[in-house]
């Protein structure tokens, strides 16, 4: 065999730097769970078939996310079964969807619920129903196992996400100052979960400025403090601090008591809750049912989905609010509802990367990364020996305008995002390409409501929260904060309101 000089040099130099021994795995994967095609049909006012059949239900729930499923759960728990839930996607769950392969179940979006405080009555009731809360004790297996979180900074690992090593006195003082401020806000009782139960106009002025401006007013100019505050906003709101209402920023840090034992989590994240809810209400759920029109009639309210007209007395609109103008006849355009675009990816790992002394945790975050890091789906496994695993990688496209980022999600192909994800991971796990065998990516143009400046106390939002109508909105958009507890609260409350109406009628 003749070896050309060029090849010889290439092989030789590769051998010298030791690259020739490493081989990257071929990585399979694709985009999954795309739903924007359906959204675009609605947006572009495509023509839908005229109804061929009529079905009658006293109540129709639109949307099978946590809000819709929670409304259904409330109905069935109260013995009311004469309703139907219409879900557009093949799989119910919304932001609490999950996937499963031969390694483990894994989340597609929300992956934990903080241990609920005393005000979060409905969540506690649900968890008692699901066996997560027994005689006042939280089921140990459902609490996040230790060690929970780690942050990679300055080339090393630390426990927890709030930067704790390499702090200058200034950083330390500012973290402390904020902690004291948040403690006062917490004591005010204004910042609660559910939001509706505490919020008055007392701190309304906070909604008129951005969280980053507020931080600046408090004298917080530390880079680490600002990184952490931005991380919090990106993680919960998919937004930078400068695009977040200061009221919502304060709420993030002031709405929960510091507790050691939480959060509650499962291999498939909040998909576990979806599964348990579906066990209870599944027979009322119809998937692949895309609603394309909602019309109030003299006798009630009609919902058109596929080739059917569902005639009902009440509709619980538990889909994202931004769909309202496209579905509901005579519904005004919305101005105060901004949505954050997200990307999540599930990575199949054939082995764990070299850990360099750090034990793997549930949640891993990198300082100064545009992404949110990843969560390990086998962390809640009871096995002692785990070889293969799934990492769920979270990336809120917070930098720049949401519309532009939505376009970016559509324009770029799978390879682009795959490489972007690997580049991010490679900064910390240099051997990641030898570990990953598959990357599935889910693009969500309107992943969650964003508590933009002025949106928490918006008049538009207040109008939609009215419950004395045939069409009740029920989703976390009403709270302007996209968390499980808010979605569940509005779902349960809408169901209860409908039940009261129905019983009142009879």
């Amino acid at each position: 065999m003749k070896v050309g000089r060029r090849n010889f040099l290439r092989a030789g130099s590769a051998a010298l730097v030791g690259l020739s021994l490493k081989t990257d795995r071929p990585i399979a994967g694709s985009f999954v769970n795309d739903s924007f095609q359906m959204g675009h049909l609605l947006r572009d006012r495509a023509s839908f078939p005229a109804p061929k059949r009529i079905e009658k239900f006293p109540v129709v729930i639109i949307g099978g996310g946590i809000a819709g499923l929670s409304a259904a759960w409330r109905f069935r728990k109260r013995g009311f079964t004469d309703f139907v839930l219409l879900e557009m996607n093949p799989q119910a769950g919304g932001n609490a969807r999950w996937g499963e392969n031969e390694i483990t179940a894994y989340p597609w979006a929300a992956h934990y619920v903080p241990v609920p405080g005393p005000k979060t009555e409905y969540v506690r009731e649900l968890f008692e129903d699901l066996g997560v809360l027994k005689n006042g004790q939280w089921e140990e297996r459902n609490l996040c196992f230790a060690p929970q979180e780690r942050l990679f900074l300055y080339g090393r690992w630390q426990d927890g996400i709030e930067p704790a090593i390499g702090l200058a006195q200034k950083d330390h003082d500012q973290f402390q100052h904020l902690e004291d401020l948040f403690a006062k806000f917490r004591a005010s009782g204004e910042f609660t979960i559910p939001v509706e139960l505490g919020r008055s106009s007392k701190f309304q002025e906070l909604d008129r400025l951005s969280f980053s401006d507020w931080l600046q007013q408090q004298g917080c100019d530390s880079g680490l403090v600002n990184w952490y505050m931005n991380y919090a906003c990106r993680d919960d709101y998919g937004a930078l601090a400068k695009d977040t209402s200061a009221w919502a920023g304060v709420h993030y840090f002031s709405s929960r008591e510091a507790e050691e034992k939480g959060p509650l989590t499962w291999p498939e994240g909040n998909g576990w809750i979806t599964r348990r809810l579906l066990e209870r209400v599944g027979e009322n759920v119809r998937t692949n049912e895309m609603v394309h029109r909602i019309t109030e009639t003299k006798r009630g309210i009609s919902v058109f989905a596929g080739d059917a007209e569902f005639q009902s007395e009440f509709v619980i609109f538990a889909a994202p609010t931004f769909l309202g103008p496209y579905l509901i006849e005579g519904f005004p355009r919305l101005h105060d509802f901004v949505y954050s675009p997200w990307l999540t990816a599930n990575l199949t790992l054939e082995r764990l990367p070299d850990s360099r002394g750090a034990e793997p945790t549930w949640d891993t975050v990198f300082l100064d990364s545009p992404t949110l890091g990843y969560v390990d789906a086998t962390h809640q496994s009871l096995r002692t020996h785990i070889e293969r695993t799934i990492w769920t990688f979270y990336w809120a496209l917070a930098e720049g305008a949401p519309a532009q980022n939505r376009q970016l999600l559509l324009d770029k192909d799978w390879t682009y995002w795959k490489e972007a994800i690997l580049h991010d991971l490679e900064r910390v796990h240099s051997d990641i390409r030898q570990c990953v065998s598959r990357i599935d990516i889910m693009r969500m143009g309107h992943a969650m409501i964003r508590p933009a400046i002025g949106s928490v106390f918006s008049e538009e939002r207040r109008r939609l929260t009215r419950r004395n109508t045939r069409l009740l909105f029920a989703n976390s958009d009403l709270s302007s904060i996209s968390i499980f507890e808010e979605a569940q609260y509005h779902g349960v409350l809408a169901a209860q309101t409908v039940l009261d109406h129905l019983h009142g009628h009879r």
Binding site: A15, L16, G18, E140, R141, L143, C144, F145, A146, P147, Q148, E260, K261, G262, E359, L382, R383, T384, H385, I386, E387
Partner: protein, 498 residues
């Protein structure tokens, strides 16, 4: 002649760097902390080279003759440095002293080389050419050595033979010099004989290197290694010294055949002998079959289920003659059923009930093992207990890891069980602890199987007494979401080891 001369500069430079790298690498391997080792060794070495350069001015006559001897000395000292250091670590207390002494001697000799060479050739070239050529080849040699060392030498030859190879190079340069400069030398015959002797010595060393390494390693691991394997789950090493067999899992001692009977009798009999009419027993862990050997002494027991993660472990203890002798072929009994599975999921999914449950896992050294010491696990295990059943947990040392021991007891209590902690002395482990747990009151047995060597009825009550230095401590229970035990255990052992 010019190029040949400069090639010897290159070789000499390479040798000098290799000895330095060998010393640094060996120290990192054996003592650890590679940053510290490399920093101090390179520093010392460079400093010693400076001393050598300074001393070179005192050598005035017979420069070539002295150069040849320096090369020979360096060949011997450098060539054997690695072997000497390994032996020093294995057999002496003074590894560090010998290390730095060697580094200094080699550094001084290497420091002498270049000044001498420059002066030897200064009459042949202009001064600026001497400097330029000698230093160029010096640095080239260093580059070659630094690349060869990690890529070829260490993986292919190992540290002992790499050093010897470069000792040969040094001696070769010496021999070569006697020919290159034969006109400037007297007594070349003696010199050449010395060169040949050194070359032969090093050649022999190369041939015997394996034995040198083996001798040193045997001593580092204390005993003969008779079996070593990386299974999918753990690193398994079996050693023997005279009649003492020892098993190490991931470097942690699991038993010594001289006193394991103390451990295993104590693990089984205080609990099992107290269970009325036991028929079914579950062992979690215990892949060595030694606990099962003790359980088989109860003839009324019908079935023993053993759940151990590692099939290679249970296979080894079913087939290896020395090991089956030790466990009395317990795994070959028809009453024993071996299941290779991860314990927690198995306990969760199985529904059988047992009269006695033995929980004999490795100590909670990491968060994975820590899951097997939680309230969640003990609750799941306790669901398998029959009405009169008992459960026993190996619970590390109440002496060396006092917090950990009482944490395990507290965890069992938190899981809703009554606990009866006890301890025994096992020479190879020290004080060792166990916790018996049940849903009912426990009274020590009044009848034990025949033929026990350690546990007797009279001595039993004393095992449950804890002197003040092992007395209970107020510690929280271990839970999946806290895993306090793993950190506690790490701290406990950190205090007494290094």
């Amino acid at each position: 002649m010019g190029i040949l001369l400069f090639i010897s500069v290159l070789l000499v430079a390479a040798c000098g760097l290799i000895y330095e790298l060998v010393a640094g690498t060996l120290a990192s391997y054996l003592v650890g902390d590679s940053v510290f080792q490399f920093s101090t060794i390179i520093g010392t070495y460079l400093f010693a080279m400076g001393i050598g350069s300074a001393l070179s001015r005192y050598l005035n006559r017979g420069l070539v003759y002295r150069f040849v001897w320096i090369e020979l000395l360096l060949g011997v000292i450098g060539g054997f440095s690695s072997a000497v250091l390994m032996m020093a670590f294995a057999f002496t207390q003074g590894f560090e002293m010998i290390l730095y002494a060697l580094v200094i001697v080699m550094g001084v000799l290497v420091g002498l080389e270049i000044p001498l060479l420059m002066r030897i050739v200064r009459d042949r070239y202009e001064f600026r050419d001497v400097i330029a050529h000698v230093l160029t080849f010096d640095y080239l040699g260093a580059l070659g050595a630094s690349l060869l060392f990690p890529i070829l030498l260490v993986p292919r030859l190992g540290l002992v033979r790499s050093a010897m190879l470069f000792g040969l190079v040094n001696a070769g340069v010496a021999l070569w010099t006697t020919y290159l400069f034969s006109t400037q030398l007297s007594g070349t015959r003696t010199l050449r004989i010395a060169c040949v002797v050194v070359l032969c010595g090093l050649g022999l060393g190369m041939a015997e290197a394996r034995r040198i390494t083996a001798t040193a390693e045997d001593n580092i691991y204390a005993d003969d290694i008779i079996f070593a394997r990386d299974t999918r789950y753990q690193h398994l090493v079996l050693t023997r010294f005279k009649d003492d067999l020892r098993l190490f899992l991931n470097s942690h001692l699991q038993f010594s055949s001289r006193d394991e009977y103390r451990y295993h009798e104590a693990l089984i009999h205080p609990g099992l002998a107290a269970v009325p009419a036991p028929r079914r027993v579950l062992v979690l862990g215990g892949g060595d079959g030694l606990a099962v050997r003790e359980i088989l002494k109860y003839t009324q027991i019908e079935s023993i289920t053993l759940v151990d993660l590692d099939p290679e472990m249970t296979k080894l203890f079913s087939t290896h003659p020395m090991l089956t002798q030790l466990n009395d072929k317990s795994f070959l009994s028809s009453r024993v059923h071996i299941i290779n599975a991860d314990a927690f999921p198995w306990v969760d999914s199985n529904t059988d009930s047992f009269d006695f449950i033995v929980i004999d896992f490795p100590d909670p050294t990491n968060y994975s093992l820590g899951k097997l010491y939680t309230t969640a696990f003990y609750r799941a295990a306790a669901r398998h207990l029959s009405a009169q059943g008992m459960l026993v947990v190996q619970s590390t040392s109440p002496m060396f890891a006092r917090d950990s021991f009482w944490c395990i007891a507290q965890t069992l209590k938190q899981a809703g069980l009554q606990t009866y902690p006890y301890h025994v002395y096992v020479p190879s482990f020290g004080e060792w602890g166990f916790v018996l747990a049940s849903t009912h009151e426990y009274t020590p047995p009044v009848l034990l199987p025949n033929g026990l060597r350690f546990i007797n009825v009279e001595g039993l009550p004393a095992l449950f007494q804890f002197p003040p230095d092992m007395a209970p401590l107020p510690v929280p229970p271990n839970q999946l979401n806290s895993q306090v035990l793993v950190r506690m255990y790490e701290n406990d052992w950190k205090d007494i080891s290094h």
